[in-house]
Symmetry: C2
Subunit: 230 residues, 2 copies
DNA sequence: TAACATTTGACACCGAGTGTCATCATGCTA
DNA sequence: TAGCATGATGACACTCGGTGTCAAATGTTA
């Protein structure tokens, strides 16, 4: 969505796929792209699915085949972001303290945010203008929370405490991002994020002498050994 | 909402009101009551507004006059809860440290939760079964965050730090409540809440030597002097 | 009781979301 | 290369949430 390709807006790797699948990717990409442009211009609620579909030259029904809900066309990035996070957290260095792993991963994520500043800022502008999107957006934080809780629990400390720390981290980072967005991306996201994180460092479960328990990670839906980039 | 009256489910003070307004209160109460019963039985999404309206002997259109959105009939409590919180935070003792005020208020709120255990547990069960409600529910946390941020900022410390602390508190408490709900209300909500809070005590802004600044409270929508029970 | 104000219900309409089915393009195979 | 199986598409119809409009019913006040 940054580089302008000669023919069309090309998605990711369209190679090694049949024409059928390439078309599918392109259709989805076009829909998302068109939709975001419309949302940015007039707000999420003011844009109808019919319009998006028409602008992308597909039928309304087809739109819903690609995006089960209108909101999904907006939150396309999220799934990828989660995957990125999990990849970053898949600590190569198993000796590293869990909190350090989390810190490193989140700061990298901050860098990625800054890299796509433009996109993310407009995204948040749309978000801010739409309560329903805002609400859905908060749900992603829960997903992040689950992931972080698992990682923080790796140390073997009290998993409940790990989850508390994860919750605090997620909450605090949202505020930092919020501030970054409000400043138009001018504040130093990485620095402020790190500052906030270090405030929470003492919350991480102290080196665990409860190593035996690997159960009760709470609401997690993540397998302890999962998370490889693919 | 606590005492059971002989004739109907009576709302609050129905005295000193004309017949018109009494009917209005009763209609709203009936709708909410009927709706909650249906939601609890079959889930939020499976119950249609028509059903609720029919069960309450009003037209569909009338339902929407009382509750602009279907979701609103579910979140009736929330507004009251926020008011309670603000009342609790309206510290009588201005010498008390902001964090202590927050702690006191939140623990009182925990007690209230425990008092209405039954209601709240079923409420959360419905919530858990409905992504849209869950999403909306998270928005209330933001409101709480705003309120707490203001109070924590009273001490005169860095208001940004106050907001960070508020975010951490809200995030952490949601986890505690989540655990309480999952346990069927058997864990000690107050104790676990306090434990979690004390973990965050060091986050509260250190005694402020920046007393001059009263601006930049961030996303708050709360007037510093507001919050009296009414 | 008469005049006024407000609430209600009926109707019509829009947009999101879903099931169904005929049609058409793709990809594989003879 | 012809043909067939598979799967994507578009058209249609329908449900449900949500809203505007207006006439009828109900409450309030003089």
């Amino acid at each position: 969505m940054r580089s302008a390709d000669p023919p069309k807006a090309r998605a990711v790797a369209e190679v090694g796929l049949g024409l059928r699948d390439r078309k599918k990717l392109e259709a989805a990409a076009t829909l998302a792209q068109v939709a975001k442009r419309l949302f940015a211009a007039r707000g999420f609620a003011e844009v109808t699915v019919d319009e998006i579909a028409a602008a992308a030259n597909v039928s309304r029904r087809t739109f819903f085949r690609y995006f089960p809900q209108k909101e999904d066309v907006f939150f396309g990035r999220r799934a990828a972001q989660l995957a990125e996070l999990e990849a970053l957290l898949d600590a190569p260095d198993r000796e590293e303290a869990p909190f350090a792993t989390v810190r490193r991963a989140l700061l990298s994520l901050a860098d990625l945010h800054v890299e796509s500043r433009g996109e993310i800022l407009t995204e948040h502008r749309v978000l801010a203008g739409s309560p329903e999107l805002l609400a859905r957006d908060l749900e992603w934080d829960r997903r992040v929370l689950d992931i972080l809780a698992v990682v923080l629990g790796r140390g073997g400390g009290d998993p409940r405490r790990a989850r508390l720390a994860a919750a605090a981290i997620v909450g605090v980072l949202r505020v930092v991002i919020e501030r970054w967005v409000d400043s138009g991306g001018r504040t130093d996201l990485r620095a402020e994020g790190d500052e906030a994180l270090m405030l929470l460092a003492p919350m991480a479960p102290p080196r665990g002498r409860r190593g035996r328990r690997s159960f009760d990670v709470g609401h997690s839906g993540l397998k302890p050994g999962a998370a490889r980039p693919t």
